[in-house]
């Protein structure tokens, strides 16, 4: 059998080309990976910087007093749509600072009589209170307020009970206290039984000139939903919602180009200050008896 030497020319070239192709592919892959890593690192850094800026913006607001915040926001105590915006830091700092926080502050908890802004949802830990304030702002609410209150609890086997305490009255020298208990489970305690606590709940009408309604959750945590059913009455705010957005690359804020824009937001709800549950009590002994 005879072979032609000329037929074998080019095999080496093909082999070389194959090897070079494989090497090029590997090189490109490595290059892509490196670029991706750098890009990811940059993103993480930017994200961290913007998140830090957003958190710093929140902290700057949390140090301000309730009076200060409320007066900064336009509108009355029942206006939960107006917002007050600011930036943090307020002025440009050193050249190294390239992130800022854009802050928006609104009141929250103003309950109108129409959905969806007629509901107030709040998680109440066991033995803690949810306090609804009706008396801040310019004047007292004169009318009896009609509320519907529903609640859920995490474990069906351990139903929570709600114990309401309301302080009302226009005269500080003659305030009234009204209390009532509601239950969903077998822990009777002479509390009123609510058959469908999470759906229909119970209706509650406040006294005249209500000031404070405190809802104590017993036996279990509760997610309490308070719905305002009072025609023509919007309930005042219960705290502030602060949205702080850390921004990197917004030329209007940071001076950088918009092509590098990175945003991270933190939303914080800050309640009005309230007293712990022990202030419901006239006699409270943590470790002792009240026997004679």
């Amino acid at each position: 059998m005879m072979t032609s030497a000329s037929n074998q020319k080019g095999q080496t070239l093909i082999f070389v080309i194959l090897i070079m192709t494989i090497a090029l592919a590997i090189g490109i892959s490595i290059s892509n990976r490196t670029v991706s890593t750098v890009k990811r690192t940059t993103n993480v850094d930017s994200s961290s910087r913007t998140l830090a800026a957003a958190e710093a913006g929140i902290e700057s607001v949390l140090t301000r007093t309730v009076t200060d915040l409320n007066s900064s926001i336009s509108g009355s105590a029942t206006d939960c749509t107006s917002a007050y915006t600011t930036t943090y830091p307020a002025t440009s700092g050193s050249a190294d600072i390239t992130t800022k926080a854009s802050i928006s502050i609104k009141r929250y908890g103003c309950l109108t009589t129409s959905a969806p802004n007629n509901k107030y949802v709040y998680d109440v830990e066991q033995d803690n209170v949810l306090e609804l304030k009706f008396d801040h702002g310019a004047s007292l609410i004169p009318n009896n307020i009609n509320l519907n209150i529903t609640w859920k609890y995490p474990n069906a086997a351990t139903a929570s009970s709600l114990y309401l305490m309301e302080i009302s009255g226009s005269n500080m020298n003659n305030l009234e206290v009204f209390r009532k208990g509601y239950r969903a489970g077998s822990q009777a305690n002479n509390f009123e039984l609510v058959l469908n606590p999470s759906s229909t709940g119970f209706n509650y009408q406040t006294r005249t000139h209500p000031r404070v309604l405190r809802i104590l959750s017993l036996y279990s945590p509760s997610t309490v939903t308070v719905t305002n059913n009072t025609a023509g009455v919007t309930l005042p705010y219960q705290g502030f919602e602060i949205t702080s957005t850390g921004i990197l690359g917004d030329s209007t804020l940071t001076g950088l180009g918009s092509k590098d824009l990175v945003r991270r937001s933190v939303v914080v709800k800050r309640s009005l200050p309230y007293l712990p549950a022990i202030f419901n009590f006239a006699l409270y002994s943590q470790n002792g008896s009240l026997s004679k």
Binding site: K180, N190, R270
Partner: protein
Amino acid sequence: MANKVTMKKTLLALLVITPLFFFSSKQGRAGILESLINLVSPSQNASTPQIQQNAAQEPPVCKPREPALSGLLAFPNDQSFCSVTPTFAQANVAYSVTPSDSFAILKSSWKIVNPVSKAKNGATTTKLVTGSGVETLSGEWPGIDSSDTLVELTFTSSLLNPDNGKILATDSFTYTWNPATTCPPQGLELSGKVWELQKGQTCATTSGSRTKINPQPGDKVQKVGSISSNISDSDGSYKLTDPAITNPSNQLCATALKPDLVKWGSSAFYKIKCVDGTVGTPLTPNCANLGPLAPSGTYTVNLGFEVVAKGWTHVLMGDIYAGCPSCPSNAISQLVPKKDPTSAYDTDVIYFLDSDTPTNSPSMGVAIAKGDIVVKDPDGNTRISDGDSSNKNYNVKNYQENKLIWPFVSSLNQFQPPVGAKEVTNCSNFFSGSTKTQQTYYMSKSCFGEATASNVKYKFDGSGAVVLYIINAGSLNIKNELVSQTNNRLILMVDGEAVIDPGLGTQTPKLSNLSPQIDATILAKDGILIDCDREEGTCTGNDSTFVLQGALLSKKDIVLNRLRGLDTNEFPSEIVKYAPEDLIYLNEFNKDGKISGLHIQRVTWQTR
């Protein structure tokens, strides 16, 4: 040589006789001198013919010299004597006459020296005695009455020279009884009746109207340190025969007495109030002091006991919580009086009520306890709240362990003033009007003492409340009234224990017009003590009602010690009226950044 011997004898004789001479009688001295002369000239006497001359002559008549008359008398030492009844008492006196063949006169008498009311001189006896002997004397013992504190019978004897009546010797002896004398039983009997005062009765209640105590198995009357007697179920009588007496103080105690549990509750107790009969005065809580007792005789001691109903607490407009981890059966336990329309306390006798003047329908409060809640009246009716009759009281028994816990808010937990609180240096002026409201202050215990050295009607500059921290308070005794002159309120944070003095109170509180002794919400780190009037450490049951407008909140015990006693137990012993304005004022507090250290602010975060 003979002279030398004579000299020696003379010197010896002088040495012996000189002291005898100086210490002897006149007659003795003559004898001594005579002997001395004989001694100093023995040779003369021996060699001189004078004797012979004398013998030859008519000798002089020499009477034998009579020895001197002397005597001794001795009674035994004084002794105690315990005869309660009059009797004759004997005493022996020993005598000795020297020379033994001589005679002397023994003269004896007795006298009742004490008690003065029975003082008496007995007849005097005389007897000629010789040699030695013992004479038994007899005198009248007057007996011992229960009123006696000292009885004394004294015998006196003297030995006299029959020739000249001179006293040769004398001695005396006394029989004594006083309350400290320990006497053997001689028919002593203590008896009487044990009775229970009914409401409104006094110790002067005639015996026919007295009610015997509630009989219990094991009820006894005991002479302390001696025997005891059961108390008759039928008439409440007892009798003790020949108990040992321990003069001067004898005590008679009734033990194991217990008022009717159904009527008064397990926490009520008996306290002795009346002791009548022959002897005795009340010695609380269950004993009579009989004083000294004669060793025999019959004494009547009637013991009258009153029921001291444990006081009860009235809480208005507020809730109650007792997290007692060690009292599962009585975390909240009280006995309230029966509902009485004629009561001087102008509302229902209830444990707590939500509002005294509700415009709207009244509501209840809630009592939450880790253990059981037992609040009943003497008829066994549950009286925890005004709604009991309609079964609407709220009480959460056996609440889960360690759930309703003291909040972990730094200042509220540690009782240390928050940053920004102002130190009070002008203590005496703190409550007088210049202190700004809606501020937090702190002061020392001594500063608080100075600020409340007398009754205080406080007022502040502006409306609202003041939060005052008392640092390192230890045991902070609040002795004087602390009431609001205007509409200001005080929140008192005590880094220690708050003690309400027994003197703070009112005898006849009126619900319609409560006048508190303290206008404040008191929070105390180490407990709150509403103290009682005490006698030897025990509450007497004579307390007034302490009224506080505010709240009492503590991480530890709240001890409600006041007792009104049987006759005024229709009044609660403590009244705490919740002050809702405290909560409203404190809510305003933090709005302007004035940190009270008491608030919670809920912050929820969400990252987008």
